[in-house]
Amino acid sequence: MDAIWLDIGPVEQLPALGARTLPVQGGEEIAIFRTANGEVYALVNACPHKQGPLSQGIVHDTSVTCPLHNWRISLVTGEALGEDKGCVPVIPVKIDGGRILISRAEALAGTN
């Protein structure tokens, strides 16, 4: 039986207001974010604009600003905020017992 959630490590390994990357073999790299409040979110690590690595952007409140052209992307919905239009897939993620768990199905969505 496949697990529904994959354990990808302790939450302290994520800097507050920062992000880490999670490559998926045969799929799209995922960016795991942590906000000032300690919430954790995960998006595909590619801006809907020009595929910039969102993991390298500045995290503020519940959004990240893409390092390439300053698009602001919601960590909650993956939608571009403000005037820009576009959306990046969101991967469900949760914290349990200090560990980061990511939803297996969505994490593997891009693989085949």
Binding site: D2, Q13, A36, T62, P67, S74
Partner: protein
């Protein structure tokens, strides 16, 4: 009497006794009640243990139900003899002493147990939790002998324990794993305020600190952190969290998840067994606060002896019970899609209020310093009331928002009396501001100049603008002459820099609080600017905030469109050696650089390096004697030179040698924007010094110093600052000019737009005419450089910030290791 069904309650705590009270209130004759308690005493208010520890209350004052209550209601109390087993078939319980009692209905209210982190030494004498009277007694004994105390856990319970021990005269250190205190209840800003307030009361607060072990010979002597620090202590309080006490229920075969699973009527998987309080799991949630417990007990009693009402889960709020520190939080403050933050900061009163609104409903609130409206916000939140009509006045609290018949904020301001205080910092009344406006002050800046209102903390800026709107109607232009830094603040760049110095603000959350930022953690525009302003203002003490750096400065390399990086080692004055070139060529091969490009700044750029490889390529380049070229930074980039008098038949001075000296003096310096320097050996200007931020044209009689040029979208040639006779003077003026730019330009202004604003004459007056001023600027620059001239590549190659260069994990869906 004996024909009445027998209700046994396991747990003589707040939940068990409250449930009995609720049942008695509905039908006092229904059950014969027996309560078993593990502690040898009557029911007391556990949440008042903190005031008890602090010496603010006595045990008698925190008793909820005394012996008369048990006797008067015919309740048999068995205190100090814990139930150790439940036999569901025979419907009876057994206690530690062997006593057996049959039940008709059983209520499990075993609460929760403190969680002990299993570090080495956790079982030493002197390691206590903070859960019951015995724990308080141990702490008081330790406090009597004085010395140090360590509290592990900076949540609600831990901070209350720390506060109590501190009042009892112990030197208290709080160790908290997470970066901010009470992170589950407070946002970063409020957590930071709380930390500074506790520190000012003499506690030491270590956040982001991980306990390695508790050491001691037979009893506690101290705590060692994973980073090697040791904190001596005669007592260690573990307050890292609680977990539902489900041992009995589990052993009896009841359905148990994180807690004992119950339905809406608090009935467990056995219809004759109920459970209530911190030990239960309802709808997937467990609660560790007191308010849900009251709601559960009501639903339990309704279901058992009256009309079933059903428990639907609780929305919780938190108040910290530390005298003089008012902290409140409720609901969801994590923000998110469709959430709007309304933030009020009043630095003078030490107040931070944040209300989170979603679709015109309050969904969360964090209050610090003034929690008077906490209950009102909590009420709005629980009722889900539409707050659209009072939206604009919401943050000012209930009195303001529902004060007048109209909730229009303009009407509310108009309704204020002439002697109402608008600006608390400078004590300016509404009357004096209106008089100033009538007298011709028709902009915010003018009002600030005339009355000082909104000139300090700025939190009344909105009120002053409303007064302007009321007095002038459509004539009030609204816009200020100098634009605010970003949407998070009403202050200009210049205001912010001045306030950082005047108020001695040292870290970003402190600036945001003192200057009433309207967002909880700023934005991608103001955070890098604040980080720069702080490092410029306090070179010796600045703590870098990597998360407030743009990616290039955080990674010490230039991000490219495909997410790879380019790497540029420094070549002093554009001079290199065969050894350096060999090392660069080797690195290009080894790390698969897909292009090697000569830059405009006379050095080599290696393209297509992966972030994981950066520390390794830097180590290789370091080994050949090269350091970071800061080609990625708002920083000194390069000093471009021509070959000068050493080789060139037209050269008048050693431009190459001077360029190298300048680069050695200026490298590593962070600036408002990138900064380029060039030295040309003669007026033919082969080094293009007249489009640099600082350029030197060598002539026979000395050095012409040129400033404020750049290429780019708006080409601007330099202007002549002055001519000097010696190399040393050229170096000194250069340092002074850079420092003036560092201290006075706005973040992301290059020297050209800055000089357009301040004018050449101003710069001449500061650098050329004021000898002492120039010398002071130069000294401040060199002082800052003594902290900044550290090769960031070497630090990273040695392992600093390694997490920035590594994946957190990898998913390999097809790699099956050892079966499933």
């Amino acid at each position: 009497m004996t024909t009445k069904p027998h209700l046994i309650v396991i747990g003589n705590g707040m939940a068990g006794c409250r449930a009995v009270e609720e049942i008695l209130a509905r039908d006092s004759g229904r059950y014969r009640v027996t309560i078993f308690g593990a502690e040898p005493r009557v029911n007391y208010n556990r949440i008042m243990l903190s005031p008890l520890l602090a010496g603010e209350k006595s045990f008698e004052e925190i008793v909820i139900n005394d012996h008369d209550w048990y006797a008067g209601n015919g309740i048999q109390l068995v205190a100090g003899d814990a139930v150790v087993a439940i036999d569901r078939q025979a419907k009876r319980v057994t206690t530690a002493s062997g006593r057996v009692e049959p039940y008709d209905k059983l209520l499990i209210a075993t609460g929760s147990d403190p969680f002990i982190i299993p570090v080495p030494g956790h079982d030493l004498k002197g390691v206590v939790t903070f859960r019951d009277m015995d724990d308080v007694a141990s702490m008081l004994r330790a406090a009597d002998s004085g010395g140090g105390a360590v509290v592990i856990g900076g949540g609600l319970l831990g901070l209350e324990a720390a506060h109590g021990l501190s009042l009892r005269g112990m030197k208290v250190t709080v160790i908290h794993l997470m970066p901010t205190l009470m992170e589950r209840q407070l946002d970063e800003a409020a957590g930071w305020l709380l930390k500074s307030a506790l520190e000012s009361r003499g506690q030491t607060i270590l956040t982001g600190a991980d306990t390695a072990e508790i050491y001691g010979n037979g009893k506690v002597e101290g705590v060692r952190l994973k980073d090697g620090r040791e904190i001596p202590a005669s007592i260690v309080v573990m307050a890292v969290g609680i977990r539902p006490n489900v041992k009995l229920a589990k052993a009896a075969g009841l359905a148990v998840g994180r807690g004992i699973q119950v339905d809406d009527h608090l009935v467990t998987s056995d219809a004759d067994i109920l459970s209530v309080g911190e030990c239960v799991e309802h709808d997937g949630l467990v609660y560790g606060l007191v308010a849900p417990l009251w709601e559960m007990c009501r639903a339990l009693a309704d279901g058992l002896v009256a009309t079933p009402s059903g428990y639907r889960g609780s929305v919780t709020s938190t108040k910290l019970k530390v005298a003089g520190l008012d902290v409140f939080s409720a609901g969801d403050f994590s923000g998110g899609e469709g959430c709007e933050d309304i933030v009020l900061r009043d630095a003078t009163r030490g107040v931070y209020k944040r209300v989170i609104v979603k679709q015109d409903r309050v969904v969360g609130a964090v209050l610090y310093g003034d929690t008077g409206d906490g209950n009102w916000y909590f009420d709005l939140l629980r009722k889900g009331e539409d707050v659209a009509p009072i939206r604009d006045a919401l943050i000012f609290g209930q009195a303001f928002a529902s004060g007048g018949a109209s909730a229009n904020p303009l009407d509310a301001v108009a309704a204020l009396g002439a002697d109402a205080e608008i600006c608390g910092c400078n004590g300016v009344s509404k009357g004096s501001i209106v008089t100033a406006i009538d007298g011709g002050a028709c902009s915010l800046d003018a009002v600030r100049a005339c009355t000082k209102a909104s000139a300090s903390c700025g939190s009344c800026t909105g009120l002053v603008e409303k007064l302007l709107t009321i007095a002038m109607g459509d004539d009030y232009a609204g816009a200020r002459e100098n634009q605010p830094m970003c949407k998070c603040t009403s202050f200009t760049h210049e205001d912010v820099r001045a306030q950082i110095l005047e108020k001695e603000l040292k870290v970003i959350p402190q600036v945001m609080q003192a200057l009433s930022w309207s967002t909880p953690d700023g934005c991608s525009s103001c955070r890098p600017a604040l980080n720069y302003y702080l490092l410029c203002a306090w070179p010796g003490e600045h703590q870098e905030d990597p998360q407030s750096r743009f990616v290039n400065e955080r990674m010490h390399a230039n991000i490219q469109k495909d997410g790879s990086y380019s790497v540029v080692p420094r070549m002093w004055g554009g001079v290199t050696t065969p050894n350096e070139l060999r090392a660069i060529a080797d690195a290009a091969d080894k790390y698969g650089a897909r292009m090697v490009k000569v830059t405009g700044g006379q050095r080599l750029d290696l393209f297509g390096i992966q972030k994981e490889d950066l520390p390794a390529i830097w180590a290789d380049l370091n080994a050949a004697g090269m350091v970071s070229g800061h080609a990625y930074g708002k920083a000194l980039r390069t000093v471009k030179t021509c070959v000068g008098s050493e080789w060139c038949r037209f050269g008048t001075q050693d431009s190459t040698g001077l360029g190298i000296k300048i680069e050695h003096m200026t490298w590593g310096s962070w600036m408002p924007h990138k900064f380029k320097i060039a030295v040309s050996g003669c007026p033919r200007n082969c080094a293009e010094a007249t489009i640099k931020d600082f350029g030197i044209i060598c002539v026979d009689s000395g050095y012409e110093l040129m400033i404020g040029g750049n290429g780019g979208i708006h080409l601007r040639g330099t202007e002549l600052l002055c001519k000097v006779a010696t190399e040393q003077e050229a170096l000194d003026y250069c340092a002074a000019f850079i420092q003036l730019y560092r201290e006075e330009a706005r973040y992301l202004d290059r020297t050209a737009p800055w000089m357009e604003r301040v004018g050449l004459d101003y710069v001449k007056q500061r650098i050329v005419e004021d000898d002492a001023g120039r010398e002071a600027l130069r000294a401040r620059f060199l002082y800052a450089q003594s902290y900044l001239q550290k090769d960031p590549w070497a630090e990273r190659a040695a392992g600093a910030e390694a997490h920035l260069h590594q994946h957190i994990a990898e998913i390999r869906p097809f790699a099956v290791v050892g079966g499933r």
